[in-house]
């Protein structure tokens, strides 16, 4: 009930965002199942134009572009969810622990370490980790986990340090609650709700990185349908058959924009609720 209530009070941006996300997810689930064509099956002449049975036409190898685009939606969204959720959980946990340990010098050293980890340009660091670990969707995920957790650790540490000085935590201390109880019951829930809010906008970034690395040929490998990989394959036909690029690119952008609008709307909503 409270969810329905909060849906009603949400602003237009967040609603449009949700609508787009739900639409893409639904199509990503339904299209590959309902369509008679397989995502990697050769069903028509190469570059066959759009028709009733092939709404987006065929790609350069005669595969159904419509099915491939939405099969990619499924894969990319699942990968991005996996990529975002591990750093949120692990990074935030580490951040809360380091925020709770009140040691000055160790704290300064830790801050320097986190600043160092977050200094690298993202694409460069992910590329480097993939070079060392090996590519593929699993290597890509490991690279994203290794490079992203520090953002959350920084955020959680700052928030924890701030919460430690807040009145309700001080009150809990005076009441004689154990440190573990204060951390688990008073600090963690607050920090995690903020981390998830940040994670939503990070999701946009991660889905773009997954596509980008696959575009460079270092992530998900063809023939598996993936938005970035499809853009890389279709790029050669930009002059003659731009729809090979336009369809997967448009759906990828739409997904990213949907999540971004939702995140932005939610942030405004939270801000207005505080006021």
């Amino acid at each position: 009930m409270s969810f329905a209530m909060s849906l009603k009070t949400l602003n237009r941006e967040a609603l449009v965002g949700i609508l787009i996300i739900v639409l893409v997810i639904l199509l990503g689930i339904i299209v590959p199942i309902a369509s008679p064509n397989d995502a990697s099956g050769f069903v028509a002449d190469p570059l066959a134009p759009p028709s009733m049975s092939l709404p987006f036409g065929a790609d350069h190898m005669g595969r159904d572009l419509f099915v491939r685009t939405f099969a990619a939606a499924r894969l990319d969204i699942v990968l991005a969810l996996l990529g975002a959720s591990v750093p949120i959980v692990v990074g935030t946990f580490i951040g809360v622990l380091t925020g709770a340990a009140e040691r000055k010098i160790a704290g300064a050293l830790w801050d320097a370490l986190i600043n160092a980890l977050t200094a690298f340009p993202e694409i460069v660091l992910v590329l480097a980790i993939i070079t060392m670990l090996g590519g593929g969707w699993d290597g890509l995920l490991y690279a994203i986990w290794i490079s992203r957790w520090a953002q959350y650790a920084r955020l959680a540490r700052a928030k924890t340090l701030k919460l430690h000085e807040s009145e309700f935590v001080q009150a809990a201390k005076v009441l004689g609650y154990s440190r573990i109880r204060i951390l688990a019951k008073h600090i963690m829930p607050n920090v995690y709700s903020e981390a998830i809010a940040y994670g939503l906008s990070d999701f946009v970034f991660i889905i773009v990185v997954i596509g980008g690395l696959s575009f460079l040929g270092m992530g998900v490998r063809p023939p598996t349908p993936e938005w970035g990989g499809m853009l890389a394959e279709g790029r050669i036909y930009l002059q003659t058959t731009p729809r090979l690029v336009l369809w997967p690119g448009a759906i990828l952008s739409l997904t990213a924009i949907g999540v971004a609008l939702f995140a932005q709307g939610l942030a405004r909503h939270r801000k207005e609720a505080v006021r």
């Binding site: 340009p121 480097a128 980790i129 002059q239 990213a256």
Partner: protein, 322 residues
Amino acid sequence: MQGIIKQVGSFFQHSLVSRVLQAVLVSFFLLTIVFFLLRLIPGDPAMVLLGENASMGQVEEYRKLLGLDRPPMEQYVDYMSNAFQGDLGVSILRRQSVVKIIASRLPVSLWLAGSTVAMVFVLALPLGLLAAVYHRTWFGYFFRVTTSIAISTPIYFTSLVILLLLAVKLDLVPIAGYDPEFPKNLRTLFAPALTNSILLAPVLARILQASVIDTMEEEFVEAAIVRGVKPLRFMWHYLLRPSLAPCIAALGYFAATVVSYGVLIEIIFNLPGVGMSLIEFVRAFDYTAVQGFVALTGLLVVATTLLADLLNAWLDPRANLK
């Protein structure tokens, strides 16, 4: 009075020094992380590089080249002392200093970065100002929606759409390639710089907008309106200049983003810059070259962030250097 000035001065100096020391410490950790990057390789890098048919002698030679034949602690001390002398290792495949290889590819990337910065400023300053002044009207709403669309669209899609429009449909710019001669290269740089700006200008404009909105609530702005300060002077002295600090603070972020996007842009527009050389390293499994590249770009971002902080402190001594 004299005492106060002295105190403030010493505080400023102290925080300035501590800020620089902080950056040195961060660089130290950064290089340590980069050193351990090589340890992520599962198994023996020399074996991976040479394949299964390599002879023992070849493997030994590569292990020596990578420095893997010595105890780890010795390797680490060596790596760090070399790095602080500006030596970030040797490409195992080209047997050439990584710094030298990158330096030879730098001009193209600098041209791209320079034209991007120019374009971003031209677009973002008026946009951010307008969006701040009219943020309660339809323009504010329009600004919010269009900037989030521009920011969220992946750069590799934006660049392909730009190519499709400017190169294929309108035939205004070449579809790819680079002309190293000065006035001609601007034609080849226009599309990639525009792509970069479509993603970066909205970010800067948004930071500026938020900051100008805060500035507009200050009393000195009201006082200036009441006094009837001339429009242009009002814009610059009372609105823009006091609002620049957050934009400068974001310089480190911008440096990191320009490098990240540069890799993709240079591949798509076929510009033989630094980013393209990274991809060449990655494809050839040139571990040490990739390692050196990561270190260099990380240090670049740390240096830019430090510079931004110092710049802000210089512009506004009240700024907290911590």
